[in-house]
Amino acid sequence: MQRLPWIPILIILTIFAMAIFAPLLAPHDPIDQTLKDKLLPPFWFEGGSTKYILGTDAFGRDILSRLIYGARVSLLVALLALTVGGGVGLTIGIVAGYLGGTIETILMRLVDAAFTFPAILFALLLSVTLGQGLGTLVIAISLLLWASFARIIRGEVLALKQRDFVALAKVRGCSTLRIMATHILPNVLNTFLVLVTLNIGVVIIAEASLSFLGAGIPPPTPTWGLMVSEGRGRIADAWWVALIPGIAITLLVLSVNLFGDWLRDRLDPRLRQL
C-alpha cells in the first residue's frame, strides 16, 4: 500500500482554504484597477514591490488577490459539475445496468454517442446560445462527465445484480426502486467516489479552457483560465500575468490527480486502466 500522498493533500487543502477565506486572505480587491501600478512584476524581481507579491496585470489588478478569488470559481464549478454530471451518470448507470432490456440499449447508445462527440463543442455552443454564466458552465461540463460515469457504474451494477443479496431482496418483495436505492447504490458508492476524484482534474481543466476561450464565467469575475487568456498578449513584457495562474491550475490538477490515483488504489484497484 502506498503511503498517504501528503504533499498533494496539503496543496489541495491550501487551495480550498484560499477559496473559502478569499475575502480575508486577499490583500487587495480582485477587481479594483490601479492603473498607475499596472504590469508590476512579482516582488522578488526588479521593480516589483511587496505591496503586490505576485505582481499586477495590465489593469493594475493584484494577481495574488485574483488568484485567491479565482480558486473559488474553479472549486465551485468542480463541485457543481461533479454533483450534476456525476449524479446523472450514476443514476443512468444504475438504471441501465439494473433494468436492462430496451432501456439499457437506448441509454448505452446515448453514452456511446456522447463519447463520440467532444462535449467541449456543445459547451461552446451553449455559451453562445444561453449566454455565459455559472449555470451554462455547469451544464456544459456536466455533459462532459455523465457518459463516463454511466458506463463504468453500469458495468459495476451488471456484476452486482447477480449477487445473492439482490435476489434475496427480490424474494422479500422489495420494489425495483428500493433495490436500486438501498441495495445497489451503496455498493457502487466507492467506485463513484473514485470516479469523482479522478474527474476533478478533468473538470478544472475544462473550466479553465472554456474561460480561456471566452465561454466561461464572464469578466470581471477572476478565473484562472481568464487570467491566462488576459496575459497571453503580454507574454513578451509581462510573463507573470499569464504564467502564474497556469502554475496554479497545473498544481491543483496535479495534486487532485495524484490524490485520485491513491484513492483508486485504496478503494477500487480494478479501475486502474483509466
Binding site: A113, F115, L121, F122, L124, T129, F212, I235, L243
Partner: protein
Amino acid sequence: MGRFIVRRLLHGLVLLFMVATVVFVLGRLTGNPVDLMLPEDATAEDRTRLIKSLGLDGPMHTQFLVFIGNALQGDLGTSIRMRQPAVDLFFSRLPNTLVIIPWAILLAMVVGIPLGVVAALNRGNMLDRGAGTIAVLGIATPNFWLGIVLIFVFSVELGWLPSGRMGGPEHYVLPVITLGTFLTAGFMRLTRSSMLDVLESEFVKLARIKGLSETVVIWKHCLRNAMIPLLTLWGVFVGNLITGAIVTETVFAWPGVGRLTYEAVIYRDFPLLQAVIILKSILILSINLLVDILYAYVDPRIRLS
C-alpha cells in the same frame, strides 16, 4: 464486410441526425434564433427575409425540416461576421488543421509508445518513475497554458522558434508539441499498463521458450498486442485532438478550423458555430468509420460480432 460497412454508416448517420437535432434545439432555447443569426445593424426587412428563408414563420416541425433540408443541400447558414457561407469558411480553413494533427499523432506515437514500453520493462525503478512523472505532468498541464509557456521560453527568451502563424517547418514545432503533449502522455500510460498485462501472458512465455531474442519478443510480440487498447480508444483521441486544436490554434494564431471555432465563440457568430459543430461531427464520424473499417479488416472478430 459490405454489410458491416453499411451498418456502421447507418449508425453514423443516426448519430449525425442526433447532433443536428441538438444544435437545432439549442438554437431555439432562447427564443427566435434569428436574433442570434443577424448582425446588429440588420433592418426589420432583413429579419423578415431571414425568417421566411429559414421557414421560421412555420411550426416547429416544419422549421426542423427546412433546417435539415438546407443542411442536406450543403447550406449551413452564413457567418454573421464574415458574411460568407459557413461551409465555405470551414473548408477553406480545414487543410491548415489537417496539416498539424498528423504530426501531433506522430509525436505521441514516437515518444509515448516507446516510453511506455521502457517504463513497463523497468517497472518500479527510477526509469519507470521518471516516465510516470512526465506523463502525470503532461496530463495535468492545460494545453493552452503549455502553448504560452513554450512561446515564452522558445520564442521570447531564446528566440529559437516563431511564436505563431503558419509558415515553414519551424512554425510547426511549438503547435505540434502543444497539441501532442496530452496525447503523448495518454499513449505512454496506456502502453505501459497494457504492456504489463501482455508481458504476463502465455504466448510471451512461449516466444521466450522458443528462444526468440528478447528484442523480438518485446517489440514485436508484446507491443503488437499491447496496441489493442490504444486502437479501441482512438475515438476518444480523435475528439481530444479536435478540441485540442481549438486551443492550440488560438494560442498560435494558426488559421485552421480550431481558430475558426474560437472566433465564432468570441464574436457570438451563431450560424458559423453551428455549422462548425455539424461539420466537425461529420469529420469525426468519417474518421471513426474509416478506422472502424480498418480495424474490422485487421481483426475479423469485430466484423462478425
